[in-house]
């Protein structure tokens, strides 16, 4: 095919245009995937093709339970760091004891859901992309389709349920772990008793703060599921392709989570 040579600007413009189209296409795909997995959740049973609860439960264990130790360690560390930084900053105003307020609010509204989202994206988002990508490369997805088993119903809907259920629960766990981290440091540094720390924290934190964190985590869960699954389905080029898609899934999921978090925080605090 004869191609006319183009100027550098035209080429760059074309590249940008194509990237935009690709991005738009990917978001369209995400949207369609949400609709289709909701469709199977709602109507699968009446069409005799139900979404299996056992598959969802298995995913919940993988997404939630198996990740608890690492969530605990990192959240605890975040709590300690917030306490260190808070005390350091507030010391300049002689207001160290106000640190509890800072920890309580930033953990429940921000760090709990964010840490959980990033960790689950790293653990389960990559596992998801790798699992579905490998199935794709091995023609297992084709096999499901020709057996009359819709891959979205069979593979995606259970993941979606697991993420939406587990992310808020893990986030709550992360909140508690981070608060504990803060409590331990405040106890050592300021001599603040655990009971006093707990009393102060609970009096500062409102239901709204917690709900804000939890609703974020639900969105993060959907993002992780969508990005992981989509990158798995889009794998081409054998084992190497699976590796690339897995990396891409993690990077994209974490990026989308941080961006969504920013947008969320902005609109919720306007």
């Amino acid at each position: 095919m004869a191609e006319t040579p183009r100027s550098g600007i035209a080429q760059n413009l074309e590249r940008i245009g194509r990237a935009c189209v690709d991005l738009l296409e990917e978001f369209g795909y995400y949207f369609a995937l949400i609709l289709e997995s909701l469709f199977w959740l709602a109507l699968g049973r009446s069409r005799r093709q139900p979404v299996r609860l056992s598959a969802a439960a298995q995913q919940m264990v993988e997404v939630g339970i198996d990740g608890l130790p690492i969530v605990f360690i990192l959240s605890f560390a975040i709590g300690v760091m917030l306490a260190i930084q808070g005390i350091h900053t507030l010391k300049q105003f002689g207001a160290e004891t106000q640190v509890v307020l800072g920890i309580a609010l930033s953990v429940t509204r921000e760090f709990g859901p964010l840490i959980t989202g990033i960790l689950v994206a790293g653990r389960s988002g990559s596992a998801l992309a790798a699992r579905i990508g490998t199935m794709n490369v091995n023609q297992e997805i084709d096999a499901l389709r020709v057996m009359g088993i819709n891959p979205v119903r069979y593979l995606v809907s259970p993941v979606m349920v697991a993420m939406v259920v587990m992310l808020p629960l893990v986030t709550l766990f992360s909140d508690l772990a981070a608060l504990l981290g803060g409590a331990v440091f405040c106890n050592l540094e300021l001599g603040l008793s655990y009971a006093a720390y707990w009393d102060q924290s609970t009096s500062f934190i409102t239901t709204d703060d917690i709900l804000q964190g939890l609703s974020k985590s639900v969105v993060f869960g959907v993002i992780i599921a969508l990005v992981g699954v989509t990158n798995g389905f889009m794998v081409s080029g054998g084992a190497e392709g699976v590796g690339k898609s897995t990396t891409r899934a993690v990077v994209l999921a974490i990026s989308y989570i941080v961006l969504a978090d920013m947008a969320f925080t902005y609109f919720l605090n306007k």
Binding site: Q49, Q139, D142, A143, M147, G148
Partner: protein, 263 residues
């Protein structure tokens, strides 16, 4: 042949991106027939199979399976049809997260309301049919290549389908195991009256099992006929394929030069 057609393909044209893959393919498989689709790599035979399985939508043309045009079928009709067809993929495509027996049982579990015990017995029966009795509790990763193909076949026939598709049954297998699979294909047709489509590039296997052979070359059908007709064919490309001669294409000097220089 007057028997009712199980598969009828008319004017099938398909593209991959902008590249033409299949160019006006017509063919027909009678009920209870074993049809072998042959062709070298790049002939479009894998693409044809994927279209027969309803995995891709063609550019134009119709594909009728058991009387139903799958290019126009609704999701429900397609679902119904899929419970009547079995597919054994080249690499087996067994779900690696399940045991062999669970794999074989999967279509029953998803499509029927049979008693658990009945499903177990059916799955074990199918494993016996393919000589894998007692291997049900293994994982696919613990099986050899030949065993994987046989397990995939067991899964493909677990619903007693009317149509069976088999992609490269003997590729990568030692001759004895390949011959066993050929026997099995013939036995399945004879005892269950299945219509079977086999895609292969193995000549020996094709001549042994086929009622009729369709030879595909560069997206077109060269020949569709009985084993004898194919053997006697005077078509040069068919003979090249039969005698495993490398293909000789006449060279368009200008075009070739342009390809090399990219100009």
């Amino acid at each position: 042949m007057n028997a009712a057609a199980a598969i009828e393909v008319e004017g099938l044209v398909t593209h991959y991106g902008s590249r033409l893959i299949l160019d006006g393919v017509d063919f027909r498989v009678a009920q209870g027939e074993i049809m072998v689709i042959m062709g070298g790599s790049g002939s479009g035979k894998s693409t044809l199979l994927r279209h027969l399985l309803g995995l891709h939508a063609p550019t134009s043309g119709s594909i009728r399976l058991l009387g139903k045009d799958i290019t126009r079928a609704s999701a429900d009709e397609m679902h119904e049809l899929r419970t009547n067809m079995g597919v054994s993929f080249q690499g087996g495509a067994l779900l690696s997260s399940m045991t062999v027996a669970e794999n074989v049982m999967l279509p029953l579990r998803e499509h029927t309301r049979l008693d658990e015990q009945t499903m177990n017995i059916v799955a074990r029966m199918k494993l016996e049919v393919v000589n894998l009795g007692g291997f049900g509790d293994l994982r696919p990763s613990q099986l050899s290549g030949g065993m994987i193909k046989r397990a995939a076949l067991a899964r493909a026939i677990v619903m007693d389908p009317k149509l069976l598709f088999f992609d490269e049954p003997s590729a990568g297998l030692d001759p004895v195991v390949a011959a066993e699979l050929d026997e099995l294909i013939i036995k399945l047709r004879d005892s269950m009256q299945m219509t079977i489509v086999v895609v292969t590039h193995e000549l020996d296997s094709a001549f042994k099992i086929a009622d009729r052979i369709t030879v595909l070359d560069r997206g077109r059908i060269l020949l569709s006929g009985t084993v004898d007709e194919v053997r006697r064919s005077t078509n040069e490309r068919v003979q090249d394929l039969l005698n495993r001669r490398p293909r000789e294409e006449e060279i368009d000097a200008d075009e070739y030069l342009r390809r090399l220089t990219g100009g």
